[in-house]
């Protein structure tokens, strides 16, 4: 899906943080989710990248990230069956690479 909307492509300038599912993540603050019949459209206002979440379960996981101490915990809490969890970790890693999700700010 990298160049789905090839006209909107803009070079990323900020550093991408490597994805560790054991750490806390959240939907990036400059990202909007638009519900779609199959899942959601994801739009990043900063780098203007567009992506899609291909299942409603993945939408739930992304929304639940912020309330959990780790991405794994969010996946579990969203009710993802055990066998599918590696695929969800992979999907979140892809979203991290495109900066759609970001590490939670450490609480002061």
């Amino acid at each position: 899906m990298r160049r789905l909307l090839s006209d909107a492509g803009t070079v990323l300038t900020t550093d991408v943080v490597a994805f560790d599912p054991a750490t806390p993540w959240q939907k990036a603050r400059s990202v909007a989710l638009r519900p779609e019949p199959f899942g959601a459209l994801v739009y990043h206002f900063g780098n203007r990248k567009l992506s899609f979440l291909k299942s409603k379960m993945l939408v739930a996981v992304v929304k639940n990230l912020a309330g959990h101490p780790s991405a794994l915990a969010a996946i579990e809490a969203s009710g993802v069956p055990e066998a599918q969890r590696p695929a969800y970790v992979q999907a979140l890693a892809d979203l991290a690479r495109s900066q759609m999700i970001e590490p939670q700010e450490p609480t002061p």
Binding site: M1, R2, R3, L4, L5, S6, D7, A8, G9, T10, A32, R34, P35, E36, P37, F38, L41, Y43, F45, R48, L50, F52, K54, S55
Partner: protein, 408 residues
């Protein structure tokens, strides 16, 4: 009532995104919005037959209301065009208004209004993209199609944008038989301004129908274009418009699917909503943003769009080995060349389009749009592709005081 209508297929769960897209989205990914039919040029291939302003064009307040609605529907991006959008006196206001409402704008222009001051203003504005139209890498090739002086206007605008430090602006090229050999030159020209090249497909839409036979790339040029895109595609934008070329073999990057009424649409200057920018014809008119329920109701409830939102299951193309690659090509290209919508694209790279064109009924009259805002008189710098413009005398005696008079 519904019992007698053929049932529309149900959206599957899961599967590939492209299959989901065939069933449509709750809002367009992006849409094209033509702000005015007015244009200072008279390009021979204008997809919207633009030239003269339409008195019914949306007012500033109505345009703002459309932007409000796009924000509510979370349409994050619009492609603004025309006509020449910058000749609308409220263009810069609407640009700011859209950006202020989370609706990013990419606008296409021939560059007529992009002086140094405007270029600096744009360079300071986030969330706006500019693309300058150019249909030849040299003035000679460009001006034959877009009109005398248009190459100079475009390159002056490009200079102004580069000088102002604008990032990521685009040079937008419609590939024709006359410029298909200039792709490397276009790339070099674009690079020289620090801009990005965008190339799109010529459609037989609007005045494009009049010149399509003459200007659409030959089969050999299509093959060269395909190879060029495979080699250079990562650095060149295409608006995903060449998906019919995917039937040569390898799929091109992007969305290889007709998105009309599914993921894209057009709002024209008077607020009419068409399935795609290349389909300004009553057969593809879904409604008007001024109707009750506005754009959202048109997008989500029009019968036409519902009809477009299902996979193609019949027709000659579905039996072709390459159908999954090209999905039958461009709906508008088929329609305006008089071909059936479930058959091959007129430029089908497997050659089925040529046979289909040859097999058309000799009596066939290709569909013509009833929307035409072309300049009615001669235009300064008129394109010469169709021969030198002949300017008829307004009155007989402008030519010769005795012309036409029967002096017997």
């Amino acid at each position: 009532m519904t019992a007698v209508l053929p049932a529309r297929p149900e959206r599957p769960t899961g599967g590939r995104l492209i299959d989901q897209f065939e069933y449509g989205l709750d809002a367009p990914i992006c849409l094209t919005w033509e702000l005015t039919y007015a244009c200072n040029l008279a390009c021979v291939h204008c997809l919207s037959s633009s030239g003269r302003r339409d008195p019914r064009e949306l007012s500033t307040a109505e345009a703002e209301a459309v932007i409000d609605e796009l924000q509510r529907m979370q349409v994050f991006y619009v492609n603004v065009g025309g006509g020449e959008p910058t000749v609308r006196p409220d263009f810069w206001h609407l640009l700011d208004y859209a950006i202020g409402h989370d609706v990013g704008v990419k606008f296409s222009t021939n560059g007529i209004k992009l002086d140094k001051a405007r270029a600096q203003q744009l360079a300071r504005t986030d969330y706006v993209d500019v693309q300058i139209s150019l249909d030849g890498a040299t003035a000679e090739v460009n001006d034959r199609v877009r009109g005398a002086g248009s190459f100079a206007t475009a390159t002056r605008a490009l200079e102004n944008l580069a000088e102002a430090g604008m990032k990521d602006f685009k040079v937008s090229v419609v590939v024709t038989r006359e410029n298909a050999g200039q792709l490397d030159e276009f790339k070099a020209l674009t690079d020289s301004f620090g801009a990005q090249l965008r190339i799109t497909r010529l459609r037989p839409s609007g005045r494009g129908a009049d010149v399509w036979d003459q200007l659409h790339p030959t089969q050999a040029q299509q093959r060269d274009l395909y190879n060029w895109l495979l080699a250079n595609g990562d650095n060149v934008l295409t608006g995903d418009s060449f998906f019919h070329l995917s039937a040569f073999g390898e799929a091109l990057p992007g969305l290889n699917l007709c998105g009309a009424g599914r993921v894209v649409c057009l709002i024209d200057p008077v607020g009419d909503v068409y399935a795609c920018p290349f389909a300004i014809h009553e057969n593809f008119l879904a409604g008007n943003v001024r109707d009750e329920g506005g754009f959202q109701r048109v997008w989500q409830s029009s019968e036409l769009f519902a009809d477009l939102r299902s996979p193609q299951t019949g027709g000659a193309c579905t039996k072709c080995a390459h159908f999954d690659a090209c999905r039958g090509g461009c709906m508008a290209a088929k329609f305006f060349t008089g071909l059936p919508l479930d058959g091959p694209d007129p430029e089908c790279v497997q050659g089925y389009g040529e046979s289909a064109l040859a097999a058309r009924d000799l009596e066939l009259v290709t569909p013509k749009s009833h929307i035409d805002h072309s300049h009615s008189g001669p235009v300064r710098g008129q394109p010469t592709l169709l021969g030198m413009p002949s300017i008829p005398p307004a009155k007989i005696c402008d030519e010769s005081p005795l012309a036409g008079l029967d002096l017997r």
